[in-house]
Structures are given as C-alpha cells and as structure tokens.
Symmetry: C2
Subunit: 295 residues, 2 copies
C-alpha cells in the first residue's frame, strides 16, 4: 500500500476512534464533552497518531495495539491547543479556520475541556486492555507524562510565552521547540514502540533520535509556512508569528539557511533509520512529508 | 500512636515529599516550577494524602507504598484549585490567606502550572518503583484519571460553574458534589488500597462506599463552615458562597437539617467499616475529624 493511502487509512481510523472516545450521553453537563469533541475533531493533520501507527508497525505491532496511544497523544495535543489559544496565552480566535474553543463556547469551558482532554489521555492509556501487558501501558503513561509536563511541553510553552518580543539565541530557540513540539513527536514514536512491546533496545533508541530530528524539522517547516503560505491555506492569519514579534528560525537564520537546515535534518533522520533498510520506508516517507508539506 | 500524632506525621511526610517532588534547578524557565511549588506547598489540610496513608495501612501496606499516590493526589487537588481560582472561573484572589497563583504570578503561568501539576500527578504514579508491581501502578493511574476527568471532578466543576445563581434540586447538588469533591476523596482511599496490593475484594469495596459518604460529609461541612466561620479562620472571605448566590446544602436544607445530615452520614460511614473492628479506628477518627473540624 502506498504511504498516502496508508496515512489516509490511519487518519480515518483515528478520527473514528476519537469520535467514539467521548460521549455526551448521560452526562450531567453535555457542553463539557461537546467542547472536548469540538476541539478534538476539528481537522488537523493527525501527525502524532500517524507516527504512533508507523512506529508500532515498524516494531512489529498491530494496528489495534497502536489505537490507544494514537488517541491519547491526539487528546493531549488537542488540550495543548485549547489552552494555548486562551486569552491569557496566545489569545487566538481562529484555529484551522474555525472559532477556537473559548470563542465557540466560553473561557471557563475551554479551560475545563482542556483539563479533561489531558486527563482523558491518561485514561485511554490505562484502560484494561487485551492488547498489552501492564508494564507496556505503564511505560506509555510514564513516557507521555514526562514528554507533556513540567520538563517537557508545558515548560516549552511557559518559556515561549515569557519570551515573546525578546531576542533569543538559536540555542534557546532550539531548546524551546525541542520541549514545546519535539517532546511530543518523539513521544508518539516511543509509545508506538512500547505499544508493540519494545520497551528498550536499538529500535526504540533509533526512533528516539529520529523523532528529535523530525520534531525540529517540523517546527522549522512551521515557521517557514507561517511566512510563505496564505491565510486561507493555513486556517490562521499568515505572518502571525512576525506580527507578534515571535522569534522564529527564519528570523534568526534567514529563509535560505532555514531551507538548508531542513534538508540537513531530513538527511540526518534518514541516516538514523538506515540500518533497518526498507522496513523504515514508511517512517522516512512521513518525515519527507513533514518537510515538504504546504500547510 | 494517637490519631493526631499520626496525622501530624503523615502530614509532615507528604509535605517533605511534595517539596522534593519538583525542582527549579536546571529548568529552562524556573518560574513554572516556582508557581507549581507555590501552589503545592501553600498549607492545606492534606486530607486526601492522609486518606491514602490510612487506607494503605488499613489494607496492610507500608508507608513508602502510600507515598506516590499521596503526592499524586495532592498535586491533582492543587491543580484543580489553581484553575478554579482563575478569573474566568471563580475569580478568587485569596487562597488560604495568600494571593492565588494567578495573582502571585500571572494568568498564563497559573494555567500552565495547573496543567503541569495535573501531568505531574500521573508521572508520580507511573515512575519505576520497587514498591509496586506494574498492575498496581496502572490501576492507580486508571482510578485517578477516571475520578479527575470528564466523568468526574472536571465534570462537577463544569456543572457548578454553569449553574451559579440558578436553583438546584437537592439531587442535583449531591450529584455535583459527588463529582466535584467526592470522586477524588473516594479515589484517595481506593489508591491507598491499590498501593497496598488490594486491586479488588471486600476491603476495597467498603472503602469505596465509606469514601462516598465522607466525601459528601466533607462538602456539607464546608458549606456550613462558609456560613459559620469568620474570614480569618477560613483564609477566604466567609459567606462567599452566599454572596455569589451559590447553591449550598444549608441554603436548600436549612442549618439544623444540615447538622442532622452530617451526623447521619458519619453514622453510615461508621457502619461501612464496622466489620473490620478496631482496624478501621484511624479511618473512622479521620471521618470524625472531617465532620467536626472548625476550618
């Protein structure tokens, strides 16, 4: 099966799972679940779940084994967007062309929907399941909590917010993005491996290094797209980073150097998975997609 | 050892663990960890950790086994207070006599500190440990995620916020508090049992029923204190529920009926643990304390 078809299939699979993951039925206050679903089902490229599926297959796991971590990481990503968009944070009113959660509902509901999505990610991973032994599930919970928390994604966000309008060194920018975006991308790959039963070993280590590289590439590409794409394609105002005086790779390195960096990162990522030959083809194709995408 | 001394000992133990649980060292942005610690170490009765310790001992477990869930549940409780106090939520400026997190720091930092405390709770529970087998840790993660999430505490908070100033039936008020406060109190007892190795059985079931009763009693007492105590003792303005026109047990039942209800709940809670004789003495004493406390 070609990668595009495969990605399409995984994408539809995770979409359906996300839809089923929450129900407004018999809820004391259905607006909470509605706000969660609104944020969770609002399009998106589903890159993190795709990474889970591909890493799980790469490590010999089945699709059903990848389902729980795929849903969990998308819930976690979704919570981070809902909270990021809040007035006290980025104060964004549009996300993927639709009103953000606190605009569509209200601020309190958005805060709580984010809290509940974050919590639901851990519920997904810890649910009794025939697909895993307990140590596998526990390893996924631990990986996700570390990647997402005060030494991972949240730290990156806090650093980012506190430095808007300030000059950053390239090293600081990289550190920030490694936490803010990279940690979760690497975690998607790691959980895919753990779901397949790989709790240590060469494959896991290679996936980790591969993840760090494509996570960085993902962010550099995002920064480039913010400058190059138009508002309609992005689903948010283009040039919004510049308008906010946010430090970005292009603003530090220039456009051309950024493109060169992207190619270098892709090459290094390829090298990490080379020992696995054609088994790594799908993961490499996804890395390529991340670097070449137009939105 | 007398209960008071025991509670004192557990309280100091968990305080020390909380202090050690987070470090500002080598953090890219130490203010995040500072805000987390500020909220986590700000006094409090530590009732949930105490319930963990007592339930764990009641089920034959050791103190070190109770440590991780005790820390986790206090982190979770602490996150819920930080987010509850936000301007878009209860908009409180004082908590236990000190400025709330978003006043002491800023709103964005408070949102992120709450997110990070919630995430850290799951990291605590999933950390590799010699004290548990993986299924025990997984059971605790699952119990906490269910109690805290979209069918538990967060749902209760969402319902509460959306009904400020509206008339509630007694049944709705009870449902709301069972979610908002009760779920986490019962979860503390359940995790204590799980930490001790009891993943099912009569003791676990009895603790669950006992928890539901004292959780309700806890809330009824809170409502009474809000009316009766003065601001200095409470660390927040007394009568603040009334001022906001929040539905409370006294407003629905009247003061005297509330006191009768409290006594009934305590009696029922006693009955649940009666089969275990003197082994349940400490848990019963804590229940008594919850009903008799003056702040």
């Amino acid at each position: 099966m070609k990668l595009e078809q495969q990605l399409q299939q995984y994408s539809e699979r995770v979409q359906q799972l996300l839809q089923q993951s929450l129900s407004t039925q018999d809820s004391l206050y259905p607006a909470l679940q509605e706000a969660m679903l609104y944020s969770l089902l609002n399009g998106g490229k589903r890159i993190r779940p795709l990474l889970v599926y591909l890493a799980c297959r790469f490590c010999g796991g089945s699709l059903p084994q990848a389902d729980a971590p795929a849903v969990a990481i998308e819930m976690l990503h979704s919570y981070s967007l809902v909270h990021d968009d809040l007035p006290a944070m980025d104060n964004d009113e549009l996300r993927r062309g639709k009103p953000t959660c606190h605009i569509a509902f209200d601020e309190a509901t958005a805060i709580l929907a984010g809290d509940a999505l974050l919590t639901a990610a851990f519920e997904q991973l810890s649910r009794p399941s025939e697909h895993y032994a307990a140590p596998q599930q526990l390893a996924m919970v631990h990986a996700l909590s570390r990647a997402a928390g005060e030494r991972g994604m949240v730290l990156g966000q806090a650093f980012d917010l506190s430095h808007v309008g300030q000059a950053l060194s390239l090293e600081e920018l990289q550190q920030m993005h490694a936490l803010k975006t990279g940690a979760l991308i690497t975690c998607a790959l790691v959980m895919g491996a753990q779901a397949a039963g790989q709790l240590q070993g060469e494959r896991l280590a290679a996936l980790q290094r591969f993840g760090d590289l494509i996570g960085l590439a993902f962010q550099v590409k995002d920064d480039l797209l913010d400058i190059e794409a138009d508002t309609g394609t992005l689903g948010k105002p283009s040039g919004s980073d510049q308008a906010r005086n946010k430090p970005t790779y292009p603003s530090l390195l220039g456009l051309e150097a950024c493109k060169t960096l992207l190619d270098q990162l892709l090459q290094q990522a390829r090298a990490e998975l080379q020992p696995f030959g054609t088994e790594a083809d799908d993961l490499l194709a996804l890395a390529e997609y991340i670097v070449r995408r137009q939105y």
